[in-house]
Symmetry: C2
Subunit: 541 residues, 2 copies
């Protein structure tokens, strides 16, 4: 057996853009060759990008994939292992990996374990593979696996029994809190049990509501990390197998980020990739003086740069002076374009027009929604005129219970905090301030009681339980699938629990029309929690 | 073998409402007993309703289902065949049917063929069954199948080889144009080939974007219909098996509706069930004097009754006088509440507030969107104040190419024409007038050139190709999955095709935030065409 080098291309594909992805694969392979790599491994479905959803069903995909293979065939003197959609002659479709060298396909592996839960719909698109792929190169025996395969003990055991030295695993494993470390811990235990080395190459970057963290790694059969790539960054990472030591030599091991840093980075990357890949010149958002928009602004600036970000404060009668001051201060600190647009004349215009219809009907949430919708329409007008994408600033707690206005504060193409509970919003704000020389979010924004400022002296806690309580109930109900009875039994106030669950249930229609936003939890309101809108399910057991 | 009677409960479940559905099953069984039925068959998953989506994953479903079984066990002297979610002790979950008599479960069948394409996601929820269920009763040999099973020749053949007389098929087969007749034709050919009788009981009613048409039927092995139930209506239908003739006796055979009547009814039922099951007292919509809102109004009135429907005309500077006249006339003919709200002061309020931002920037679609969003906000305010659901009035052609304003004319909880191309909108309007004594849609609304009236003398054809051309291109691209090159090769103008396809591709973000609406096609923009928003797929081959 000889020593050799493997390159891991922690790669951010542009979903659907086969030409661009293929070019990128070629570039990475050529770079790897300069570093004397013998093999290079790419993420799952690297030619098409993941998840490509129903693009996988387009009839011309086979032809396009063939063209990509023809281009890749020009790369010489390195073994490439990349992912593609493999359509067999009988029409069966597989999530596959090709091993190619000097234009020859040495082998094709069809993924055997197809995830069809959570955010995954692979059985909509793919048939199961039934055969392992093992190849020998430089006297070393490699096996190939794709993502979910490696979480199926059965599948991995069967491969290990073919006496491979190293499993090469192509992944598109989306981020959720704690997932980067969890993958490594699980795989470290696995390699020890099965006595194989493991090379894990993961996709990176945002794709709609999913963020891929990368965090690729290489494990020796002892469970020791020979390589761990930084999270949330593209990069080409090399590792050397030392024939004498019969192990991968220790390279750079970048530890995973602390929890708040990890979440924050995922939001930055998700936002950056959505905005840039949708072709927007920049973003605009409503800055209210509250913590949600303040945090969203900080993330937008970190994602795109201050020159790409516009903030607008839209005060009304009920807006506190300190809100205007705090918004202005933050905009100044971050160096973004800032404007103020009073909405009183607009709201009054609506109220006058509606007077013949409303008559003496008492004031209620309708008038509050008019404020929110006037603001939403202003932001959309500025977006339409100058081209910036509107970022929506609502958080997961609000969205869960419908404490937000459809077509009002919910307007926007991307909802940065959509999957972030309010208690975590506070933590993230503090985290962001902690890494800055001067706080980017004014201290007062973090410490004052949250308010939508839609009526005099309003605070969120007039309508909602304290956020620590609300978020705990929401987490139990949404993330943990607990029943009303379970949650009451944990000691929460019965009426509060019933009200919160009822609000979650009746607000499915709002969430369905909301903007997408980056997933950070294991139960995001996107493709992951598919509830009917018309729904007679009764809370209780 | 004796003569016997089977009842088909063409049933509209309330998804998730296990108590209500169970009570309805018991009522139907008791009614059937009064008619001396020996067996009664219900649709697929009749206890929970279909599709219940992630409610199927709630941990307490097993307990709730057991409670339903306990209640159903009280029904005596009739064999009930109903659908339920069967969770096995090892955690495997099946889409199942139970055969119950006098509180005894005589057999359970687990669906073997799980659809996971189009609108179906059954592999997210269920494991495959592997065994047929055959039972003998009154000297007659029955087999049980569930929906997709009967479209799998392999599965049905295996059952037929067990020498059954009659297959009992529980279905929740959603409507699409022509589907009711297609099912019958396909099954008639099948029963002749396999020499079995077939009892097909289908769910009816709207559930979010799906409409179930019912159209249950009974086929003798000769391929002759012994029963065909009316489409889109709940009902209990009986059929008698004549032991002497060895066949089901000919009962009432209601032919399927003509195409336009069929589509129209599906929209009526979809709208009615969405509104009523969401608990809204009525609906409100913007009546523009154009054909989309005119047709939506007619459907709303047919679905809910005129007293439940409110129409508002919201003219602006560019609204033609005849639009106001036609809207008023239609509202009067149909007897709905009608109001007029001029939006000029509101739009002017927006423009003044935006002036410091816009400066001398040229007028563009921004100002048009302000009109649409002022109207949307007014409708939402009236909805918030009085509780009526806003119906959105846009059609599939508009939604395909983004010729509509997000948070403007797209506001609403239910988009009645979402899956109806503009050319079909015209047909449906003519159809509805043809069945009325006096036309409910003013003739001029049908004959004048369509216009959004967002700028002076605007007509849709300024921005879009003629609707016959547009819809033909859209149909090829969306429904038929043809490529740009394919469509150009059919003889359409190259530039037009490229523009239309580009518009479809870049407007995914708008559709994603649109209201749900009833599916009538085989490729609706709902759970059926799942395209990424960030999408680098290049049109062409």
């Amino acid at each position: 057996m000889k020593s050799f080098k493997i390159a891991l291309a922690q790669f951010s594909p542009h979903v659907g853009n086969i030409d661009a992805n293929t070019q990128k694969i070629i570039e990475q392979a050529n770079l790897a060759k300069k570093d004397n790599a013998d093999l290079i491994i790419f993420p799952e479905l690297s030619i098409l990008g993941y998840p490509a959803e129903d693009l996988i069903l387009r009839p011309s995909l086979t032809k396009r994939t063939q063209q990509a293979f023809d281009q890749l065939a020009q790369v010489k003197d390195i073994v490439m292992i990349f992912g593609f959609v493999n359509v067999a002659e009988d029409g069966q479709r597989f999530n596959s990996a090709a091993v190619m060298k000097d234009g020859q396909v040495l082998g094709v592996y069809n993924k055997q374990t197809l995830p069809n839960y959570s955010v995954f719909d692979e059985k909509r698109y793919f048939n199961k593979g039934h055969q392992h792929l093992v190849f020998e190169y430089l006297g070393h025996k490699f096996g190939v696996l794709i993502c979910e395969d490696v979480w199926s003990l059965n599948t991995v055991q069967q491969l290990a029994q073919l006496n491979i030295d190293t499993a090469l695993v192509l992944n598109s494993s989306p981020y959720e809190v704690g997932k980067p470390q969890h993958r490594i811990d699980t795989m470290a235990a696995l390699v020890k049990e099965l006595n194989i080395n493991l090379v894990y190459c993961n996709q990176v970057g945002g794709q709609d509501d999913l963020v891929f963290d990368g965090t690729s790694f290489v494990l020796n059969k002892t469970g020791e990390l020979a390589l761990q790539a930084p999270s949330f960054q593209e990069g080409l990472h090399l590792v050397e197998f030392d024939a004498e030591q019969q192990a991968f030599s220790k390279g750079t091991v970048t530890p995973v980020l602390d929890t708040m840093a990890e979440i924050y980075q995922s939001l930055v990357v998700g936002t950056r990739d959505y905005v840039q890949r949708s072709g927007f010149p920049g973003v605009i958002l409503g800055l209210s003086g509250g913590i949600d928009s303040a945090l969203t602004l900080a993330i937008a600036v970190d994602a795109l740069g201050a020159d790409k970000v516009q903030a607008v404060m839209m005060p009304y009668t009920y807006t506190a002076q300190i809100s205007v001051e705090d918004a202005a201060e933050q905009a100044k600190t971050l160096g973004v374009t800032f404007g103020i647009a009073e909405i009183n004349p607009i709201v009054n215009g609506f109220l006058q027009t509606l007077y013949p219809f409303f008559g003496d009907a008492p004031v209620d949430a309708t008038e509050e929604n008019l404020q929110a919708r006037s603001r939403g329409t202003l932001l959309m007008a500025l977006s339409n005129k100058f081209g910036n994408l509107v970022l929506s600033t609502g958080n997961k707690s609000e969205l869960s219970v419908g404490y937000c206005t459809l077509y009002g504060d919910m307007v926007g193409g991307f909802a940065v905090l959509k999957d972030v509970y309010k208690t975590i919003v506070f933590e993230l704000a503090k985290y962001r301030n902690s890494i800055a020389e001067t706080p980017v979010i004014p201290e007062r924004v973090i410490t004052r009681p949250p308010s939508a400022e839609l009526r005099p002296d309003q605070v969120d806690q007039d309508s909602l339980p304290p956020y620590e309580v609300l978020d705990a109930i929401l987490y139990s109900y949404i993330e943990e699938d607990q029943s009303q009875d379970d949650i009451i039994a944990k000691g929460f106030d019965e009426e509060v629990v019933k009200r919160v669950i009822r609000l979650v249930d009746i607000n499915e229609y709002k969430r369905r029309q909301g903007a997408i936003g980056p997933r950070i939890s294991s139960r995001s309101f996107s493709r992951e929690r598919r509830y009917p809108i018309v729904n007679g399910w009764k809370p209780g057991v």
